[in-house]
Symmetry: C3
Subunit: 348 residues, 3 copies
């Protein structure tokens, strides 16, 4: 595809240089005579200067730095995402069920949906138009999968879960598990049956081996456009607002409410019953033990340092309260020294 034509289709402007053919995307550092790449931040400007790509998508102010034909966009990453879709189109699947799939009699599968090999679709499940259920998925009783959603492979959707449209569920994702709710009977734990469900909005993603538990009562809600990476745990009755994104290895305890447009970096842990506002950002490994309702960036944790330094500093941390008291006492003593004539102050 000529880059001039591609530019039109992805909403970019063909800027400069000869109208080369590109057939695929490539990394900036690759030598690739028919590859398209992009630069969306200052920190790749040096790599841009040395790129072996056939053409690059850049911001207007970076055109000068490129040694090759440019497509100009205010949002190169977005234009690039569209270009990948065009240059690397996903294979369309035809509707139907693989003969090895087991589909219950009462399941309602749209004729345009595909049910892959060795899948199980239980009673009263509804599968929308254009849905693609990859191999080895299990969709339990009464669940609904909205139009255009894709279950890549080996996904488990537990009973009564509601999955929106254009949702992407990665391998190993578990939607609608009966959550962790117990009553104590003396020392024993007695399970409180979890009778709620999960509702995933439209355009939601859930990553590989992540789990979203059903509500204890009522719903666990993942609103439209939320992106959940791999190995993430979402407890019962959590609410996550629109377009919030969570990186891998994080965990949200039960009943915590998270606002819209938040970003939660990797390995963040949140206690239960918290309220997190809109536009709140947590950096990696943050330990969230209280509500943060105001927009802003919040952090915690001690970044890694050489082991010897760490050991010494940690040993002092154990006595930090005592250090603070000694500091206060010293301040008093110095203040006294500064005020009183020394001879009087010291020998009563």
């Amino acid at each position: 595809m000529l880059v001039s034509e591609l530019a039109t289709q992805i909403g970019a402007e063909f800027a400069r240089g000869s109208d080369v053919d590109v057939t695929k995307v490539c990394a900036l550092a690759e030598q690739c005579a028919d590859g398209l790449s992009y630069v969306s931040s200052e920190r790749y400007l040096r790599a841009l200067g040395a790129t072996g790509a056939a053409a690059v998508i850049v911001m207007p102010q970076h055109v000068d730095k490129a040694p090759c034909p440019c497509l100009i966009s205010e949002n190169p990453a977005l234009a690039f995402a569209r270009a990948v879709d065009l240059l690397h189109p996903r294979q369309e699947v035809a509707g139907g069920c693989h003969p090895s799939a087991v589909v219950a009699a009462s399941a309602n599968v749209d004729p345009s949906a595909w049910i892959g090999p060795l899948c199980f679709v239980d009673e009263d499940v509804r599968i929308g138009a254009g849905v693609e259920v990859g191999p080895g998925c299990v969709i339990q009783r009464g669940s609904v999968i909205g139009d255009g959603s894709r279950l890549v492979a080996s996904v488990t959707v537990c009973a009564e879960s509601l999955v929106g449209r254009r949702v992407l569920l990665h391998p190993g994702a578990v939607i609608g598990r009966e959550g962790f709710g117990f009553a104590r009977d003396d020392q024993r734990w007695v399970r409180i049956p979890q009778v709620g469900r999960v509702r995933l909005g439209d355009d939601v993603e859930v990553g590989a081996n992540s789990a979203v538990d059903r509500g204890a009562i009522g719903e666990t809600v993942i609103a439209d456009g939320v992106k959940i990476d791999n190995l993430i745990q979402i407890g019962h009755n959590v609410f996550i607002g629109e377009n919030t994104a969570m990186a891998a290895c994080s965990g949200i305890s039960g009943s915590t409410q998270i606002g819209r447009n938040c970003t939660i970096a990797g390995a963040v842990g949140m206690a239960g019953h918290l309220t997190i506002g809109d536009d709140v950002h947590f950096t990696g490994m943050a330990m969230v033990t209280r509500s943060f309702e105001r927009a802003g960036t919040y952090s915690s944790g001690i970044p890694a340092m050489p082991g010897n330094d760490w050991r010494r500093n940690v040993a002092r941390f154990r006595h930090l309260d005592e250090m603070a008291r000694r500091l206060r006492r010293l301040e008093d003593e110095v203040a006294e020294l500064r005020q009183a004539p020394p001879s009087e102050g010291r020998s009563p």
Copy 2:
């Protein structure tokens, strides 16, 4: 069901108000003319006053606060758990094997057990009475599943694992993986074959996408009544004592022994070869690097704070040992100033 009748069945006392019908459980905040809810702590008293539930289970001292008929219990959560069982009974499964399941000739499956669609039950497996194996499960050679256990879906039980009675295994759980044991051969790692197994006691739960590794030699033991949430890693030869409960995202390294009735909050990490006593409680994200044999609550980690504050404080932490030394020196100097006549002390 009339609440008076329900009260009898769940061991509560019907206290006050008209004898309404309830058909389901509901959240305290819901408007639900036939719903039953409960309050087990002071912090929901305000919500109790505004509840739209038809009836609530409360502690004796909270009856006055309820605007609706009450069932009285000293342990409302436990009474509620029983009520959910009655109002939302799980569908009983009949015994048998789905025709798409693959069951080895030498497997011994109790006639009252159910083997779901697309399951694999290997040679020499024993499946007890009333067991329910949901769709897509794999049970490898020589494993035993005790009476009344339930594998929800997509569970993998590796060879020779012993699963007790009334055990609940959630989707994606992996029981009996060959653990992480290697010998070094110069720079290369050589796997030490793991010839032990896993033993799960009665009434154990293992959550979605959690893993319990087999013993290297001997057993990894999860004692009766232990509850393990989602995305938890249990290393080889770990022992977890009765009724200990672990919240999601935690990891226990090999050969660590944990006592009874402990609670381990989310995202806790434990080093290997530790000994943790009975009734020990770890708060969320605790980093457990040594044994704690005495009952009590143990914590670590720095809770999240605004990013700017965090950056400044972390920068100081890197010099905490130096700060402690400066504080000590200053204390000496001030003591000297206080004791010696200043003129003598300063100009030698």
Copy 3:
């Protein structure tokens, strides 16, 4: 097997005592009249003295401490690993496909490979000699599994992934997921299709429920001999060098490059785009926010302590920057007191 014979086969020297028969391996603490155990560190010397094993593999300097026949090796763990292989040989599988497996017409499966029950092998997959694909695995379009690899059960290999020789993939592992890459379109996230792939070298292991994402463009590379434990996340375009080992629950963000022969303990988190050198070691729960190119051990985190101590110290940490300023001010004041005659300095 006589221990003298075993010694020859595992490269150890039969040292002392009668030439007993061993039939299995056992723990040092077990009473096992035909069991072989080993001691590879000083800290088990007391247990060695009390062992009930029939024979033990020990280092030369520990022979005196053993109450039973000894096999001598400079590397008892390695000799033991070989002994386990001999005493507990894994059952060989014959080549072929279980009748319940679904293998696409264009898949190229070596006749000596075994495809287990309820597996799906998609179009254009290549499976090498002696590969064992356990029950319930999914191998998607175009992937390659090298000779002698073993997929234990319930493994998902996504499209176009390259798996080396003698690779061991544990249950629930997900190889080649489309990673977490998005462009912003106003508040919405638009997926950037991930067109790269995963390349696992020879002798790699990936643990239960771990995930290795494919490259966004280009490859995610796990070099020869890398060992990845359970519940680990490897982001897109990560590179991990030869023989590096990672313990459970860790996560590596996208594009981070890790050297050879590193050890990464449990629950370590690494930010993206970092460079970690060869022979770098991170202790458990380390928070890695910057590159560490020099060999050495790096650490972070606050080890758990009694809850009351923790609360007090954490409260002080929030004011650490302020404490540091107060300390500095006090130093200045004391210096002033020491230099100036007190009367002049204080009453201007």
